[in-house]
Structures are given as C-alpha cells and as structure tokens.
Amino acid sequence: MALDIVSKYRSGLIAVFLIVFQSGAWGLPQVYQKPSDFLRSSFGEIPPTRGISLTQSQQSRVRSILGKNYHQKVIRYWASNERCAFILEAVGKTELITTGYVIDQGKIESVKVLVYRESHGSEVARSFFTHQFRGRSLGSDNRLDQQPRNIAGATLSVRALTKMARLALYLETLR
C-alpha cells in the first residue's frame, strides 16, 4: 500500500516535470504590466518624463524611509495636473520588484506591481493586496496612516512595497 502511494507520487512528479519543461522558455522576470502601459492606463497617454534630484537633506529623509539610499540619483516621475506617477524599484528578498504608484494630492490613488523577479511572494502583485494602499497618506513619522496587512511567506515583498509607497508619497511632496 505504501509503495502504491510512493509510485503514485512518482508519476505525479513526472507529470509536473513534463509540464514544467514543456512550458517553453523560462520566464522570469514576471512582467505584469509594461511601465509604458501602466502610464497610459493611468494618464490616458504617457506624460513627459521628469526627474527629481535629491538634495542632501532630502536624501537623509529617503534613508529614514528606506533604511538606505535609493539606488538612483535622479528619480523619474510622470505628472499630469495634480496627479503624478512614480515607477520605483526595491529589493524584496534578493531581487528587484518594480512597482508603479499613482499619487493624487498626497494620497495614493493606485499601486500596480509591474515586474516581479522573486521566485516567491508574488501574492503582493494581486489586487487584493495592492488595493489596501488606496487612499493612504504619509504620517509625520514617515509611516503610512494605515499599515497594509502582511502576507505570510511574502513578508519581505510586503515590506518592499510598503517602503516604496512611503517613498512615492514623500517624493510627491518634492515635485
């Protein structure tokens, strides 16, 4: 009986291998939406690219939000009237997560994970998670006025998205 079960598992595993290897080219990173499509869907068209260059005091505020400097000196953004969008990158566990944030007058309007490169924790790209950021703003202590709920097994990716949300809200005040 025990051997039956093992051989059943074996054939299941073989089936899994077949599916995996026949799925064609390996596909990381996972692109959920192209940055250009994100901007088109947020603004109707792609607004001109602008950049924020951080002063030293602004850089130290960024450090207090991220725990380190942002990896680019000039941070790009796209704006139309009061609304603006940032496409930010932060490491989850070992890989960069590329995420788009639309900010409207100090509040997050939408969050969209564009490129996910980690092998685990991709639940953060799901709308049930990203919807939690809607309407959030930045408190005086650099934290969101309401914390998003954690996802077990995806804690580091949740943290990365939360830190980028705080950064996007701060950057919006600089433009």
Partner: protein
C-alpha cells in the same frame, strides 16, 4: 537615431552627471519613448558583466536566550549564516549554516549544522523547483523562523515535539503560486529514523537524521496547500508521509502527519493557530501508545507601531501529546512582550508554564535578543 532617443540619451547624461532640479524635464514624449521606458525597467542597465559580489548574497540571524526559573541558563541558542549565489535570473544556490548552542564538538552542548543547501530553478507560470537539502514546508515556523518574525523567546512546544522544527531533508521540491492566491508545494525527500528502543524511543524529534549519512532505504513526501487570496489571511494545510519511520527495525511503520495553520492580521492584531497530528502504524508504536502524537496552539497578539519602532504583546495556549520515555501530555501557556527597536532586531521577554500531566510544572521566565539581516 530619432529625436526622441537623442532626447532620452541627453536626459540620461543630464541625469547621471548634473544636479537636476526638481521638475526638470528629462524626456519629451515621443513615439519611441514607450520602448525606451520599458527597456530601462525591464532590462536594468548593466554595462558590465555582473561580478561576484553582484551575484553573491550573504545574511545572518541569531538569538541569545536567558532562561530563569526551573532552569537558570544563558545560551547563544543559534547563529546562522546564509550564503546565496545567483547564477542567472532563474537559477540560484541557497545555503544556510547554523551553529547551535555556541560551542560544538565532542561532549559539547552545541552542533554545527548544514540547515539548507539547494539549487533553485524558476520556470514560467510560477513554477519553482528546488533540488538539494531544504526545509520542509510544514507548520508556521519551520521555514521562516528569524527571531523577529515570532513571539516568545523559545519556540513553542508543538513546533518542537510534534513538528520537529527545524526539520530539513534532502530531495526535490516543486512549488507553484497561482494568480488566484493559491499556492502549493510538493516534495519527495529523505525521512525520519525513529528508534524503537533506548532513551529516544518513539520520540519524533529524535528521529531527524539531518541528512548526515542518513538512511535512504525509504522515501518520504511532503505537501502543502497555501491560500493567500484575502488581505490579512493566510491558510495552509500540510501533510507528510513516511514509508517507514523505523528503517532500523524489522517492522515497517508507515507514518502520516496532517496539519493546518491559520494566520490573520488586521492592523496590530494578529491571530495564529496551528494543529498537527501524527499517526504511526505498527505494533511497537501501538503498544507504547505513541502511535498518535499531536498538538495545537492558538496565539493572539497585538503590536503597536511608533516610527520604525514597535512593541507587541502576546498570549499563547497550546497542548500536545508526545512520547519521551513515556507518553506525555503537556499543556503550555506563554505570555510575553516583543520590542522591535528596528524591524530586524527584537528584544523579547516571556513567562512560560508547561504542565505535564502527572508530574511537576515547568515555569520559566525567558529573555532574548535576536536579529537578522
């Protein structure tokens, strides 16, 4: 070269070399802007071949414990070093080396252990394959147990005696996450070798072979289903099957572990619950009463945040039946506080009482400090 790409190139030069004031225009909109934009995020610019340090990842966690009460002891319980290497975006090596109880060697209290060492291959559609030695996907703490991720100085008794955390085996593990928030893991691997006589007889925890010249005459398998589709809620159901947990005895003893866990978080409130249940077949286990070993716990907690610091309180009640010398029924209560001066550093204090039926209670005050990076 079109005008827009010239603008983009100029924008890049300006961005890299000159201080740019807020609102400076980097690029004007144009037909090719979309492609340039996408490629700047999809193919992060790497002018040179990534070097060793771009591919290498290191990390660590550790915890120092002070126990006062029935035992008075200070112990650097564990120090762990991670070393990862990324061959490509899809293939990486992960390893974890642990020094337990500070001092290892003959007759010394500690052990130097290889906790994980595997190659991981990521495929299309969320499929991931691990090959090597890995942590089994069973329970809450077995895979994720950095000290700042759980309450209480010492790990709970259920995830010590019933799920013998930290439990690793060697073999293959296939994982998949779906778009709907459902995920699963399935692995075939080496298994336990439980003694049927001597001081460690029928004790599940003592059956871990730690992949150290381990008996491989039998297979074991683990499976887990994860449900993460609702904000704040994580549910898992998991199982482990062993063809024979007593390879050194004549009788074949198949064993099955079934369990489930639930985590719910809303604001600072978190609820954790776990249940795990072993059924082991065969007359030796039946006669000793160790054929059924199981337990559960429930842990409500609340955490307050202030800036980067936070503090949380918790209570945990649990019960578990396990075999150590004889069948033992334990009730466990733990109350305590965690303080995080930084999200990856924790200071802990708790009071834990374990009542063994028919014998003395064990009461300890525990203090701990832990970190990870």
């Amino acid at each position: 070269m079109s005008f827009s790409s010239i603008f983009l190139a100029l924008g890049g030069i300006v961005a890299c070399s000159l201080p740019v004031k807020s609102q400076d225009l980097l690029v004007v909109p144009g037909a090719e802007q979309a492609d340039e934009l996408d490629s700047s995020f999809l193919n992060p610019q790497s002018p040179k071949q990534p070097g060793l340090f771009d591919r290498l990842g290191i990390g660590s966690y550790g915890e120092l414990h002070l126990n006062q009460g029935d035992k008075n002891e200070i112990d650097f319980h564990r120090l762990v070093l991670f070393l990862n290497y990324r061959y490509t975006d899809r293939i990486r090596f992960v390893s974890e080396l642990e020094l337990e109880h500070a001092l290892s060697g003959d007759g010394k209290p500690g052990e130097l252990e290889l906790e994980q060492a595997y190659l991981e291959f990521a495929f299309d559609h969320g499929w991931v394959l691990r090959a090597g030695q890995y942590l089994l996907p069973l329970g809450i703490l077995n895979e994720v147990h950095e000290p700042e991720t759980f309450y209480g100085v010492e790990r709970n008794g259920i995830e010590t005696q019933i799920i013998p955390t930290t439990w690793w085996e060697a073999g293959l593990l296939v994982s998949k996450e779906t778009e709907s928030g459902l995920g699963f893991d399935f692995g075939i691997h080496s298994g336990l070798s439980i003694a049927t006589n001597g001081s460690q007889a029928f004790n599940i925890r003592s059956g871990r072979q730690k992949v150290a010249k381990a008996d491989a005459s039998n297979y074991a398998a683990s499976a887990r289903i994860r449900y993460n589709a609702l904000a704040g809620l994580s549910l898992t159901a998991f199982a482990n099957f062993q063809e024979d947990v007593t390879p050194s005895s004549v009788e074949q003893n198949t064993a099955t572990l079934l369990g489930a866990s639930a985590l719910y978080q809303r604001g600072g409130l978190q609820l954790r619950a776990l249940v795990a249940d072993w059924k082991i077949r065969g007359s030796a286990f039946q006669v000793s009463g160790s054929d059924h070993q199981s337990g559960f716990y429930f842990e409500p907690s609340y955490r307050w945040y202030r800036g980067d610091r936070s503090v949380g309180i918790f209570a945990r009640i649990g019960a578990y039946d396990f075999y150590k010398g004889q069948m033992q029924q334990a009730d466990e209560i733990s109350l305590g506080v965690n303080f995080w001066p930084h999200e990856n550093i924790v200071v802990k204090a708790d009071y834990t009482e374990v009542k063994f039926q028919g014998s003395q209670d064990h009461q300890t005050y525990n203090f701990g400090i832990g970190y990870s990076f």
